[in-house]
Symmetry: D3
Subunit: 146 residues, 6 copies
């Protein structure tokens, strides 16, 4: 994580981190100038995943009350959900459920070129049937200009 | 990477690693019992990306000559490409190009339950217009039973 | 609208018209020989939008009780919904809502060639988050042979 | 059916058979070494169709309790549903309903090469509006390695 | 085939038939009042498959020179291709190839209700990597009002 | 057009206008404070349509050389292309061609709330088989924050 200087990788590494590493990674990213938040959500409803991420972003001040920042976030979430759903942005409707860790990171696309703000949404977790252990990993990354 | 005990995260971390870390991560994953290969590909043609990954897997012996292992790999690649393309599995046709690092990892879904073989394809890189610097990060993960 | 001689543009202009212009446009289209109806619907459920359009068409006699005319209408609606949903034909499931004005127009594809009946569905409105003002315009057009 | 030596055609012919032919076809397929089950399901919910097929497969022992066989079945079902939905894997959400006969067949891809196990899901039935007679035929076939 | 009284099943059975059965099935369908043609096509290009089917339909007089009948055929082909492609209507672009038998059948949806003309396109064949034997079965059915 | 105070409708009306009305509409929109350009493109290649629109926007100064404005434009084009393609963002690959008029409009979403910049891409034209007269109307609208 120390060498990580790009927005999307930062988002993915935080979403994939476990235990104490999560806070360590987030702190490291903040030190470099990224704004960061993260959280967890498990659901069979896509709209609950979107709502959890939007709520986290708003609560932590990563997006403001203006529509344009929320529009940027919404479409970054939809893009990340394409990696999650791989063909259909549906969960319960196609009899599957997901347990996710997500992150939202705001900053330049890379620390080499810091005069522009972008937004990344990272997702990492397990997707599968509603049967214990019947699941495999899944991830998603969405990037948008802010 | 030391703590990483799952197939998909292993594939993603290797695809996202840079410089000497790539070999270090691959070696660490092999020590745990995963079969691993990785490579790079840049193209405006989806079929060249698929071919590069299939060729790497075959050359390194991760899939054999039987159709079933190549079928498993093909669909894992397609799944990973959904995260990459986010809605269309197309590049040059929609005037975009990609520079990727990819990995293929074979092993159990998690080291806690080693009696079953699965396959993960990880992709990480830059997607964008065919103009220098006009690009952002992208990733994909596909998982299939072997 | 006076110069408009094609089916799809007629449908779009009526769907996009406001206030008294709606009736004026519809009357102008009927004078040229098009059958026209229109209406409004707001919902987070795609099926309610489909039902509202199908009901309007049936009530105004634009489609009859035979399945073939309703099949033509249904697929024209689905096509228009692709422009609305841009990738997913989903609303509430992906945490968005829509307020639409729609039109159904039946006639030749163009007044220059009147010996064939086609059907157009036009949609125009606002799509966005379930938060006041957090929305932008959206449109859709579906055309089918009758 | 006597000449049928391939997995997918076997699945389709059983799903399309009527009356006594269903059992005759299934018996003929079993004589050749295929494992077969079949059933009926009508619904506006995709998840009920998936559940009906998964339940039939499990009850008849075509898949065991391990995730890998259920993963193979799940993705074969999703593939077959693409033929059914033709663009959206949705039913009630887009105001349509389906009445299906389905089959699950396990065996080699073809009797000429019997050293490998694959799985086929066949679907055949009627799709349409929730109005009697307003429907047309639909089919789907999904094939996966087991 | 003798008992087959519906448009779509007729199309599928002809597309799936082999050897002399093809002509026998087509003749049986014509005796019942269906117009029928069929053919073969192998390609990595979706447009060649569409062209082969459109050419067969035109040559055999199943569609006339008017756009409406060709529009009906085109969208039935696209629908059938959804079953074939299962998520992407692409072949060579995603490094796969197809060998198909197809049929076009025109008539009522069912012989019980003969006062309406519909069109069915059936497809059956093998899809896979451009490596001998690395392929599995695939099918598609598209139905449209004429 | 006089009453038109919103970004997307402005884009659609300009794309749908004919003859002298095009310039009149564009001038009216510019008077209200919108930045506007428009053009024509006919092609069987999606990438040529994207390139034509991007080139027009750059030449007229609607987007600058920074990636963020070109990213906003690119995704607005892709969104508009969903209305055009209705399920597949493909033309020649699925044996169809398009003749389009397009517009790019920059400004507030509505004149009532002018403190924010958005971008709209409107498309209107004919889509069909590569046979004269075998085509019907099509439209698309994409909106993005700038
Ligand atoms: Mg939007
Ligand atoms: Mg396959
Ligand atoms: Mg239909
Ligand atoms: Mg899976
Ligand atoms: Mg059409
Ligand atoms: Mg982008």
């Amino acid at each position: 994580m120390e060498q990580c200087s790009s927005l999307g990788k930062t988002a993915l590494l935080i979403a994939m981190a476990e235990g104490e590493l999560i806070d360590t990674y987030a702190a490291s990213a903040r030190d470099k100038g990224f704004a960061v938040t993260y959280g967890k959500v498990g659901s069979m409803d896509i709209q609950k995943i979107i709502a959890a991420i939007e709520t986290a972003a708003r609560r932590e001040g990563l997006v403001d009350e203006r529509y344009r920042s929320q529009h940027a976030l919404y479409h970054a979430i939809l893009d990340a959900l394409q990696g999650l759903g791989r063909g259909q942005i549906q969960l319960g409707n196609v009899l599957r459920t997901v347990g996710l860790r997500f992150s939202i990171v705001i900053g330049p696309r890379t620390l080499k070129d810091t005069d522009d703000l972008w937004l990344a949404v990272g997702m990492y977790g397990m997707i599968g049937a509603p049967i214990k252990g019947h699941e495999h990993e899944v991830c998603g990354l969405g990037i948008n200009h802010l």
